[in-house]
């Protein structure tokens, strides 16, 4: 991953629910699980700290109830964290006035919801135009932008449909279009595809990747589906009972899970989807076959057909075309079979 500037930053964010939550951290500066339980509180988020780079897809994942939505709601200031700091472009979200927050949301943030949350009394056109309308964008600009967004998500021709006349996938496209209408910089998506059936979900994931390649937003994406996470993520944060347990690229999580919980998550995943060529290649010895674009950061899954069908050692090249490694079928077959960690 190339170095990019920090767009979004959470430092020591806590969110506790229950009576006395506000004063709790004053009484217990570094509380244990027992402290929280004894006080009868529910920990939504515990001491979360991380940075998100500009243009990154940052996926938060964890089981149901692990605090993903709570974390996202803190990040978007829909709820006030119990303590901590949340920075967007260096501005502390917890420190600004109501008016400033509204301005920030109107221009910098967009959010997509699990159950779409479309306004049922408005058409597709009305829903997508809504965020522009409330900030009094001029009619011409609003219409232009709205139609552009509807076309972008592939709903052209359905401008006058009402939400209840659309399928789930189409509704979520409206949700996406309207959240992008104001051209936000940070884009929050809370399990946007969980309510869709698997085929549509896959299609929407591709759609998201397509949009991201065009728009380059900073994305915070929530899911409880590890498959989805590795398809989309630059980095993944894994949450359990309100705590962020590990943050890393999909490969890092698979290769070095921080604990049993993370290992459990990653164990079901075909490792070839996650591991890169760099993790299995050996030193080049000069007799490798050139001709295929195999890079150290390529996922094994994507190069496997080539390597196996040629049945020869292949050269691994860096961006400048220099040979940096050697990849043999023997390197990748254990990975494809899911037995590489037993051999190594």
């Amino acid at each position: 991953m190339t170095e990019r500037s920090v767009k979004f930053k959470c430092s020591n964010v806590w969110k506790l629910f229950g009576a006395g939550a506000d004063t709790f951290l004053g009484r217990y500066p570094s509380p244990t699980e027992q402290d929280i339980q004894r006080e009868g509180l529910i920990a939504g988020v515990q001491n979360a700290s991380f940075e998100i780079a500009e243009g990154e897809i940052f996926v938060v994942m964890g089981l149901s109830g692990s605090g993903k939505s709570t974390l996202l709601r803190c990040m978007s200031r829909l709820i006030m964290p119990t303590s901590g700091a949340i920075n967007i472009d260096g501005v502390d979200l917890l420190d600004i006035s109501e008016r400033q927050l509204i301005e920030l949301r109107r221009h910098k943030m967009g959010m997509v919801f699990q159950h779409f949350a479309l306004l049922p009394h408005l058409t597709v056109l009305g829903n997508v135009a809504f965020p522009l309308e409330i900030q009094n964008t001029g009619t011409d600009e609003r219409t232009r932008r709205t139609l552009e967004m509807i076309e972008l998500v592939g709903l052209k021709g359905r401008e006058n449909y009402y939400p209840h006349e659309l399928s789930g996938g189409q509704q979520q496209r409206v949700g996406i279009a309207r959240s992008l209408a104001v051209n936000p910089e940070v884009w929050f998506l809370d399990e946007p595809f969980s309510a869709l059936d698997p085929l549509i979900r896959r299609e929407m994931q591709n759609e998201l990747l397509r949009l991201q390649s065009l728009l380059r937003k900073t994305i915070v994406f929530i899911t409880h589906d590890f498959d989805e996470a590795i398809r989309l993520a630059d980095r993944i944060a894994i949450m359990k009972a309100g705590k962020v347990i590990q943050i890393g690229t999909p490969e890092e999580l698979v290769l070095a899970p921080a604990d049993e919980y993370v290992r459990e998550f990653t164990s079901e995943i075909p490792r070839a989807k996650v591991l890169s060529v760099a993790s299995v290649m050996s030193e080049p010895s000069g007799d490798e076959l050139h001709g295929a674009d195999i890079f150290p950061h390529s996922r094994i899954e994507s190069v496997a057909p080539e390597v196996i069908s040629r049945d020869r050692a292949m050269a691994v090249l860096d961006d400048s075309g220099k040979v940096v490694g050697r990849l043999e079928p023997g390197h990748i077959i254990p990975v494809l079979a899911g037995i590489d960690n037993q051999i190594v």
Partner: protein
Amino acid sequence: MSEAVADVPQMSRTCFFRSGIFIWSVFVALAILITVYQDLWPWAMKYPRGWVIPLKGWISDFMSWLINDLDFGVFTFKEMTRSVSWVLSWPLTFVNNLLVEGFAFSTDPGAEAVLPPLPWIAVVGLFVLAGIAIKDWGLGLLVGACILYLAIFGRWESAMVTLSAIFIAVPLGIGAGLGIGILAFKFAGVKRLIIPVLDLMQTVPVFAYLVPILFLFGFGPVAAMIATMIYATPPMVRIAILSLEQVPDDRVEYGEMAGCTPKQLLWKVQIPSARSGLMIGVNQVIMLSLNMVIIASMIGAGGLGFDVLSSLKRLAIGSGLEAGIAITLLAITLDRLSQAYSKRPPPAHLEHDTYRARRQKMIYLAATMVVVTWVASFFIPAIRTYPESWQLTTAGFWGDLVKWINVNYFDQLEAFKTVLLVNVLIPTKRFLLATPWIVVVAFVGLLGYRLGGVRLSLLAIALALFIVVTGGWKKAMITVYLCGISVLIAALIGIPIGIWSARNERVHRVVQVCVDTLQTLPSFVYLIPVVMLFRVGDFAAMIAVVVYAVAPAIRYTDHGIRQIPIHLVEASTALGCTRWQILKRVQLPIALPEIMLGINQTIMMALSMLVITALVGTRDLGQEVYIALTKADTGRGIVAGVSVAFIAIISDRLITAWVKRKRAMLGES
């Protein structure tokens, strides 16, 4: 499976009795002891007159102080209220001129109208168009026919007077209800304050606040309209709060994330999302307003209510019935129109373009029709007012019918009445009147304790004691007896019908229509046939109350049985239960809480109807309120009214507590 389900409530019931049986026997023993040795403590039998707190007097004095003495310096309190009624009189006069009087443009009350009112043809036509625009030709024709009835049977003017009051009271009521609802929704403090006020307002019988309104706003259509608003607003407030609270969280969060200001969030996200709920409130306001406009004829509303009232007083059954039917048809018209409006299917894209064109066309059509008929009405009197020679009346027919029934079936009706009176009504009344007040108060207290703990017990005792110390005990007991027997009979009729309707689709459809119609009718209407057949007295009152209050018993029973998950019934069938066993051992026990909620509703409706039946001569709290109204005695009316409200609240809280316990036992939340 069915065994387990059926056994849960049964087992708990025995537990309840086992632990309760001792306490209750002690209670009964003490009660008997107190009653038998009543000479030792006469005050426990009959609350001494000297101990009565003269609350009535205080309220009346306060009222007259408000009216006569309160002075804000620049203006007096009375001037203030009178100017409110002056302001409100403007729109009312306008609509009244439009529909009834015509515009005279002169302050001289005797002046000829320069501009005639809207011709009857135009009004009928507008209703037809409204029906078509909202739903379809069927609705248009139905409401058109209903309105036409008013013209044909010579009720036009009265009906238009009533309608103009509705036209002003309804928007005001909706606006006020929505406004208060929004405040309560936004500020928890306001909500905490407003909910008990709503509870009280919805249980105090309407007659009770007619008196203070009479004082504050004078006699006449405006005062009647204010009473109407006060009566019709509380449900709108409740519905507004509820439907705003029910807007899905994520939709509100979306609004916030889109950068809505709190105001935009309310008007562009929350209120549009709550639309369907709010529309139910609108329908409620319309129906309650109609009901109240009729009742408010007692303080000068005029119109159809006045026709019914004066016919009842003269025992002119025929014309009373005709006016009653007119009210009913008006009610059905307004109900169907507003229901159709609130249940309109969500818009679809296909209609998007045609929709506007259609609406445009409708508006042109309506405008053209009004202008054409109105201009024509200058030249053709038959268009201006429905010609008298075309009018029909059935008053004679109804009079003859009643005569015929009374001649031919007098003995049967009388026997029926006597049997019930002698065997049920009078003994119950004697029993209740002979029970020392202290025993009754202790009874509700103990019941409250057993069902809901100390707080409920204290509440029940406090409310009951209020009735005792303000000196209304005897009349309250008559209210309780009339209400109790009516509810019992209503339950005996309603629950079996509800069960039948739950188990048979065809019956269900018929019952649905009947219940809907019953609930549409303004309470006044029920008095007419009852007086026709049974004249006046407790018995007539009881019949009117039963008919009025039976609807919720049917509806809730039906619903309670229908909502039982089908797999429970299927499982029991698979176990070989007969239909009867399923009903007795599975469906009824599970539906019981729901049925009790229906009975609770029945009690509330019975109490409100009881006050109105004071018109046919009962001697209960209703009569007290009614006398207060005729004597313009504020304190007496309010105290009696609040007593009725307290009876309602006690029974409501006890039943609700019982239902809660029962539901907890059944494992529902």
